[in-house]
C-alpha cells in the first residue's frame, strides 16, 4: 500500500498501524488543536490519535483509525491535519499559543464584535484545527443494507462472546456473532497464538464455524442498540471484494432484529495521565502485547511499563521475551509472587510502588521519569529518576465498553471495587457478559459468557429458562490456563497535577487535546457536571467518543469536587459506537433509487413525443411538450390555445381512484362529502368537497355512481393516499357499522382527459360503440362499454366533466390498455388535430375557470375560504361539519379566494407573493398571498388566484403583490376568480 505516497509493506493480517510500527514510524498524526506530534496509542477501536485519510478525490474518506485498517495492496492512506507533513507541521505553531487556547477559548474570544462575527472566524478556525477532510464529490462506491432476523445476536467475539455464542447455538438457537475486528477472538488475539489461549480460541472458532446455527461476521461493528432489540451493524467488505460495478458493496448496514441480544463488548484499557503522556512512543500496555503477539511487531526495544494491575505483567513479559529491554513500574506496593517470579524469569525488572511522572523527547519519547509513589494517597513519595526509553507502555486499569448498553437509556452503575462503570439492569431479552460486567479472570469471563448465552437462548424461546448442561450439549469448553491472571480493574491513580506541574501538558483526552488544566478550568468556572464538562472542554467528543478518556476526566473532576466518581455521573452514550459513513446509512437509496418512481401507462409515449417530465409527488408527469414550443412559456400557451380552440388530450392517470361498494355506500359518501350523495342517480357523477375532522378542506373530486351499490371516486393526485387512508379510518373506527368496502383502483385505471370544442366529435369517431350525444352523456354523465374491432374486448369508462372549462370527457381504460386507447385516440384524432397538453397547461386552464387545487386547499383553508360554503348541505351531517363552524373559521376577515389580474399586462406575479392594499406599508405577512398564477391569452394578461382577507368584498380594488424572495412588486386588481365563461356555455356544449 501507499502511505503518504510511499510504499508501506507488511504481511497478510497486518493493520496499517502494525505495519507503521514495524517500519519504525513514530509520528503518524498531529493533534486536533495544538498540532502536537502523535503516535499510535492502541491496537484497536479506541485509537484516538492515528487517524488517516484513505483514497483520493471522490473516494476520499477521512478519520479512519490506522489500528482498524487492514493492510491491503491497493490501499492509499495519508496523514491528515498537518501541513506540509506530520513530521514538520507548520501549524504546530499553535502550541506556542497554547496558554491562550484553553477550554472555552473560542466561546470567549470569537463572539464579537457582532453576532455574525463567528461566521467569519469559523472559516479560519476550522482550517487550523480539525480532523480530516471529506470529499464533496459523489462517492462512486457501492453501499448496501439489509434486514436480518436471528434468535440470539452476540456482540463481540472475545472469550465471553465465543462461549455465549456456543452455548446459545448448542441450545438450538440461531446465532449471529458480530466482531468489529477482521479476526474473531477479541482480547485472545493479543495472546500468543501458540499458547493455551490461542488453542482454546482455535477450538471455539472451529466449532462455531462448523455449526449451521451460527453466523460469524467479522469486520462487523454493532454501532447502535435500538428499540425492540434492533441492532445496527456496519459490516465492511474484506479487502479486494468490494466491486461497485458488480453490486458488491464496500460497506453493508445490517438492521438486525434479535429475539435476544447478548453484549460481550469487553473492556478498553485506560491511559495514565501524566505530563507528556501524548508523546509518540507512549502506548497502552495491552496494545504493546497485541503488536508483539498478534502482529510480531516490537513497538520498542527499551521499554518501561507503568501500571497498577496484573495484566501488564503479561504484556511486559511478552515484549521482553521478544527481545526488548523492559522495566515495569507497578504503582502498587505489592504484587503476587508468581507474577514477580515470571517477570524475573523473562528478564523484566520490576519496581513496586513506582509510577511515571513525565516524559521527554522531541518527536517521540526518549526518556521518562519514574517516581516512588503511594497508590493509596496518590502522592509521590520521593525524588524520581530518568530512564532512557523508546517505548512507554501504560495501563490505568480497564473500562467496560458500556456504550451499547447505554443506548437503551440504561444508566451504567459504578463499581468502586473495580473502579469502573458496568451496565445497569438491561431491558427484557438483553444480556451482558464477560469483562464488560467486571469479571476478573479469563475463566470467569468464559463461564459468565456461557451462562448468559444459555439465558439468551432461553429468552429467544430456544431453551427452557433453567437450561442444563444436557440441553446445552455439554458444558462450556474448559477455559485455558491464564498464567498472569487478570485482575485488571485496578483503582485509578489520581490524575495528577502533583506529577505535572511545570513539566508540560498532561492529556486526559488525546483526540480533543483536553488536558488536566482544561478540566481544572471547567471546574473553576462551574462546569462541574459531566455533561457540562463534556461540552465546555470537548472531552469525550470526536470520532472516538472518549473511549479512552471518559473515566480519567470523571476521576479528575471528582477529585477536584471532593466527591466520588459516581457523584459526577457518566455521560450519555448515543449511537453510533463508532463512525458510520453516510453512504452506509443511505445504502442503495440514492440516485435512481432515492425514491420510488411511479409511471403511467403512457410514460414512454410522453418521453418519445417531447414530453418534458417533472416529478409530481412520486409520479412522473409531462409538464409540457417541446413539439409545441421551444420553452415552457411558449409551449403551454400553445397547448392552452389548442384546448380552447380545437381538442387536446392530457394524461390524468395520476388521479386518485377509489372503488366504493356496499349497501351503505350512498350513506357513507353522504357523510364523507359536504354535499348530498344519497340521491345521486346511477350513471351520474357529482363534484364535491370532503373535510378533515377539524373542518379544513381535505380534498375535492368527483364521484360517479356505477351501480346501485357501487361508486367510483376520484381524488386529486396529491391527496389520493390521504383520502384513501381517511376513508379507511372512517370505516374502521368511526362508522364500523356501515356495510361498505373501499379499495384503491388508482393502478387499475389509466385515465385521459379529452378537452376542447371538438372533443365530442373526436370521441364519437373513436368509440362509435358509445353514444356521446348530449342526451346520452350530459354534463356530469357517465357511460361505459366494451370496444369492438382492433380494441375488441377493451372496456372503457367515460365521465363527462371538465377541469378546463371546455367540453371535456375523462376516458378510463384498464392500465394495461391505456397506451392502446391513447394511440387509438391519436390515430382517430389526426382528423381533429388532436394535440397533447401537459401539466402546466392543465393548471393554467383551470386557473381561468377558478378551479381550486392543492395550492388553494393547502390544509389551512375552509370551504368558505374557497368560496364554496353554499355547497355544504344544511340538512344532513357530514364529517368536519361541527368544527368548521368554529368562531375563528367563520370570521369575515379570513383570507378567502379571489381572482387577481395584472394591471401591467407584461408582468406576471410569482406564486406565493404577499398581498397588500395599495395604501399599506409593504411589511410583514400582508393581507394574503397569491396561490396560483398564469398568463391568460383569453384575458390578454397575467391572472391568478389568491387568498385575500375580506375576499370578494374587495373586487375592483388595486392590490400590490410583493415577492421579497425575488425583490419585486406587482400591481394587481381584485376580480372574480371565474375569469372565463361564467355561464358555463362552453362546457355544457
Amino acid at each position: 500500500m501507499l502511505f503518504d505516497g510511499k510504499p508501506l509493506h507488511g504481511f497478510q493480517g497486518d493493520t496499517v498501524a502494525s505495519a507503521l510500527l514495524a517500519r519504525g514510524e513514530r509520528v503518524v498524526a498531529r493533534s486536533f488543536k495544538y498540532h502536537r506530534p502523535r503516535g499510535i496509542l492502541s491496537a484497536g477501536v479506541e485509537e484516538p490519535n492515528a487517524l488517516l485519510t484513505l483514497g483520493q478525490g471522490a473516494t476520499q474518506e477521512p478519520n479512519l483509525q490506522a489500528t482498524m485498517l487492514e493492510l491491503q495492496p491497493e490501499l492509499e492512506a495519508r496523514t491528515q491535519n498537518a501541513w506540509p507533513s506530520v513530521r514538520f507541521d507548520l501549524l504546530s505553531v499553535n502550541s506556542l499559543f497554547s496558554p491562550l487556547l484553553s477550554a472555552g477559548f473560542y466561546y470567549k474570544t470569537f463572539m464579537g464584535p457582532t453576532r455574525r462575527s463567528w461566521m467569519f472566524y469559523e472559516h479560519f478556525i476550522r482550517r487550523a484545527a480539525g480532523l480530516g477532510v471529506a470529499s464533496i464529490e459523489p462517492d462512486p462506491s457501492r453501499y448496501d443494507w439489509q434486514h436480518d432476523f436471528v434468535d440470539v445476536l452476540v456482540v463481540g467475539s472475545g472469550p465471553a462472546g465465543l462461549s455465549a455464542a456456543l452455548a446459545a447455538a448448542r441450545c438450538g438457537a440461531e446465532v449471529m456473532l458480530v466482531e468489529q475486528d477482521f479476526e474473531a477472538g477479541g482480547s485472545l488475539l493479543a495472546q500468543p497464538s501458540d499458547g493455551a489461549q490461542g488453542a482454546w480460541l482455535a477450538t471455539m472458532l472451529g466449532e462455531l464455524s462448523g455449526s449451521p446455527k451460527v453466523r460469524l461476521l467479522t469486520r462487523a461493528t454493532a454501532f447502535g442498540l435500538y428499540d425492540g432489540n434492533t441492532v445496527g451493524v456496519l459490516q465492511r467488505a474484506a479487502p479486494g471484494l468490494a466491486d461497485a460495478e458488480h453490486g458488491v458493496p464496500r460497506q453493508r448496514l445490517r438492521v438486525v432484529r434479535a429475539a435476544a441480544v447478548l453484549l460481550a463488548c469487553g473492556t478498553i484499557e485506560r491511559p495514565l495521565v501524566f505530563a507528556g503522556n501524548d508523546r509518540p512512543g507512549v502506548m497502552l500496555s495491552s496494545a504493546v502485547a497485541s503488536y508483539v503477539n498478534r502482529f510480531a511487531v516490537l513497538a520498542g526495544r527499551r521499554a518501561v511499563f507503568a501500571t497498577s494491575n496484573d495484566a501488564s505483567y503479561g504484556d511486559a513479559i511478552a515484549l521482553a521475551s521478544a527481545g526488548a529491554e523492559v522495566l515495569l513500574a507497578d504503582a502498587r506496593a505489592d504484587a503476587r509472587p508468581e507474577l514477580l517470579a515470571a517477570a524475573q524469569r523473562a528478564g523484566v525488572e520490576v519496581r513496586l510502588a513506582a509510577t511515571v511522572s513525565q516524559t521527554r523527547g522531541w518527536q517521540s519519547i526518549s526518556s521518562c521519569q519514574l517516581v516512588p509513589f503511594d497508590l493509596a494517597s496518590g502522592c509521590v513519595t520521593g525524588p524520581g529518576n530518568w530512564q532512557a526509553v523508546d517505548l512507554l507502555a501504560m495501563s490505568g486499569g480497564w473500562t467496560p465498553t458500556v456504550h451499547l448498553s447505554s443506548h437503551r437509556g440504561v444508566k451504567p452503575i459504578y463499581r468502586s471495587d473495580i473502579a469502573c462503570f458496568v451496565p445497569g439492569a438491561m431491558e427484557r431479552n438483553q444480556f451482558c457478559a464477560g469483562a464488560m460486567m467486571g469479571t476478573q479472570t479469563l475463566g470467569e469471563a468464559i463461564a459468565d459468557g456461557w451462562r448468559q448465552g444459555l439465558l439468551a437462548a432461553a429468552a429467544s424461546g430456544k431453551a427452557s429458562s433453567n437450561v442444563n448442561a444436557d440441553q446445552a450439549g455439554g458444558d462450556c469448553p474448559a477455559p485455558p490456563e491464564q498464567e498472569f491472571g487478570s485482575t485488571a480493574f485496578a483503582a485509578l491513580p489520581p490524575a495528577g497535577p502533583r506529577f505535572r506541574r511545570g513539566a508540560g501538558k498532561a492529556f486526559v483526552d488525546f483526540q480533543n487535546d483536553v488536558t488536566t488544566d482544561d478540566v481544572d478550568l471547567a471546574h473553576r468556572e462551574g462546569y462541574e457536571s459531566v455533561e457540562h464538562l463534556k461540552r465546555y472542554t470537548t472531552l469525550g467528543m470526536g470520532t472516538d467518543q472518549g473511549k479512552t478518556s471518559n473515566l480519567s476526566g470523571l476521576a479528575q473532576m471528582a477529585e477536584r469536587r471532593g466527591v466520588e466518581i459516581p457523584d459526577v455521573g457518566s455521560t450519555t452514550f448515543r449511537p453510533p459506537y463508532t463512525p458510520v459513513t453516510i453512504g452506509a446509512l443511505a445504502g442503495r437509496n440514492f440516485g435512481a433509487h432515492l425514491q420510488p418512481v411511479r409511471r403511467t401507462s403512457m410514460h414512454d409515449w410522453h418521453l418519445a413525443n417531447g414530453g418534458q417530465m417533472m416529478e409530481a409527488g412520486l409520479w412522473m408527469r409531462p409538464l409540457w411538450y417541446d413539439s409545441h414550443g421551444a420553452d415552457l412559456a411558449n409551449a403551454y400557451r400553445a397547448e392552452m390555445d389548442h384546448v380552447r380552440e380545437q381538442v387536446g388530450i392530457a394524461d390524468v392517470s395520476t388521479l386518485g381512484k377509489i372503488d366504493v361498494q356496499g349497501p351503505d355506500a350512498a350513506e357513507f359518501l353522504n357523510r364523507v362529502y359536504v354535499n348530498g350523495y344519497a340521491k345521486l342517480a346511477v350513471g351520474k357523477a357529482r363534484y364535491g368537497f370532503m373535510l378533515r375532522e377539524d373542518g379544513m378542506v381535505l380534498d375535492d373530486g368527483t364521484t360517479s355512481r356505477i351501480g346501485e351499490f357501487e361508486y367510483f371516486m376520484t381524488t386529486t393526485t396529491a391527496q389520493a393516499a390521504r383520502v384513501m387512508s381517511h376513508l379507511e379510518f372512517l370505516l374502521q373506527v368511526v362508522w364500523p357499522d356501515l356495510r361498505v368496502t373501499v379499495a384503491s383502483v388508482s393502478d387499475q385505471w389509466a385515465a385521459m382527459s379529452v378537452a376542447g370544442p371538438r372533443s365530442r366529435e373526436l370521441l364519437q369517431a373513436a368509440f362509435p360503440e358509445l353514444d356521446f350525444s348530449n342526451e346520452a352523456i350530459p354534463h356530469m354523465g357517465l357511460a361505459h362499454g366494451t370496444l369492438d374491432g382492433e380494441l375488441g374486448g377493451v372496456r372503457i369508462r367515460v365521465i363527462r366533466l371538465t377541469f378546463s372549462g371546455e367540453l371535456a370527457y375523462e376516458v378510463y381504460a384498464g392500465t394495461h390498455h391505456g397506451q392502446k386507447i391513447w394511440d387509438h385516440l391519436f390515430a382517430v384524432g389526426k382528423a381533429f388535430d388532436l394535440q397533447p397538453y401537459g401539466l402546466e397547461a392543465l393548471g393554467s386552464l383551470r386557473i381561468e375557470k377558478g378551479h381550486v387545487v392543492g395550492s388553494e386547499m393547502d390544509g389551512r383553508t375552509t370551504l368558505e375560504d374557497m368560496g364554496q360554503g353554499r355547497m355544504a348541505s344544511q340538512i344532513k351531517p357530514f364529517w368536519g361539519d361541527a368544527l368548521r363552524r368554529r368562531e375563528e373559521l367563520m370570521r369575515e376577515d379570513r383570507a378567502t379566494l379571489v381572482g387577481l389580474e395584472a394591471l401591467d399586462p407584461a408582468e406576471a406575479p410569482n406564486n406565493g407573493a404577499i398581498l397588500f392594499f395599495a395604501e399599506d406599508e409593504i411589511k410583514g405577512h400582508g393581507r394574503g398571498h397569491i396561490t396560483s398564477t398564469t398568463y391568460s391569452k383569453s384575458m390578454g394578461k397575467a391572472i391568478g388566484l389568491g387568498l385575500l382577507q375580506g375576499g370578494l368584498a374587495h373586487v375592483g380594488k388595486e392590490v400590490v403583490a410583493a415577492s421579497p424572495v425575488h425583490g419585486r412588486q406587482y400591481r394587481l386588481r381584485v376580480v372574480s376568480p371565474l375569469f372565463l365563461d361564467a355561464e358555463g356555455e362552453r362546457y355544457r356544449g
Binding site: R257, P596, G662, P663, T741, T815, H816
Partner: protein, 193 residues
Amino acid sequence: MPADRPTRDGQIGVHLRAEMLHSVVLVSTWPSGSKAWLAALRKALGRTLPKAVGDTEQFDAGLLLRVGPEEMLLVGEPGQPEVHELVASLRQQVSADIGSVLDLSHARCRIGVKGEQAVATLCKLYALDFRAAAFPSQRVQLTAQHHVPCALHRTGDKSFDAYVLSTYAREQLETFADAALEHGVVLHRVASE
C-alpha cells in the same frame, strides 16, 4: 436494464421474471359481514378457504391469497377463467349485500424472484423474517419497500412472487434487479405495464 448481469465470476444467484396478470379479483366485505361472506365465497369456490391472514389456497379459478381478515385476492393464470367471467361467477354467490367483488387485473403486476440468493436479495428490500419457521412456503406477507406495498408470496424455499402495484412495477423491477446485482441476476422477461 440489461437482461443478464452475472457476478464477476459468472454466477447467477437470482432469476427475475416480471409479468402482467391474467386476472386478479379482490373479494372483500365489511366486518359485520364476515360470516356470510366466507360462506358465500366457499360456495363459489367449492371448498375450504384460507383460514388465517397470510394463508393461501390453490383453486381451479386461481390462487386465493388471504390478504386481510375480510379481503382475499384471487389470482388467475392463462387457461383459467377470464376476469369478467370470474367476477360474474363470484357475484352469483357474493352478492352486493354480502360483499364486494372487484377486478384488479390491471392494478397488479407480478415479479417472480427465484434462485439461491432470492432470500438474500429480498431481505435487502423487506423487513421480513424469511426463516422458514416465520415465513413458510405458500404463505403471503403484506409488506412494503419505500412505502410501496407488496404482497409477497413464498412459492418455495428459494422462490417468491411479489405482487406489486402496476404503476410502480417497472420501478420495483429495477429495484429488485439492483438489489440482486451482487449475486448475479437474470431478467427473464419484462412485460410492459
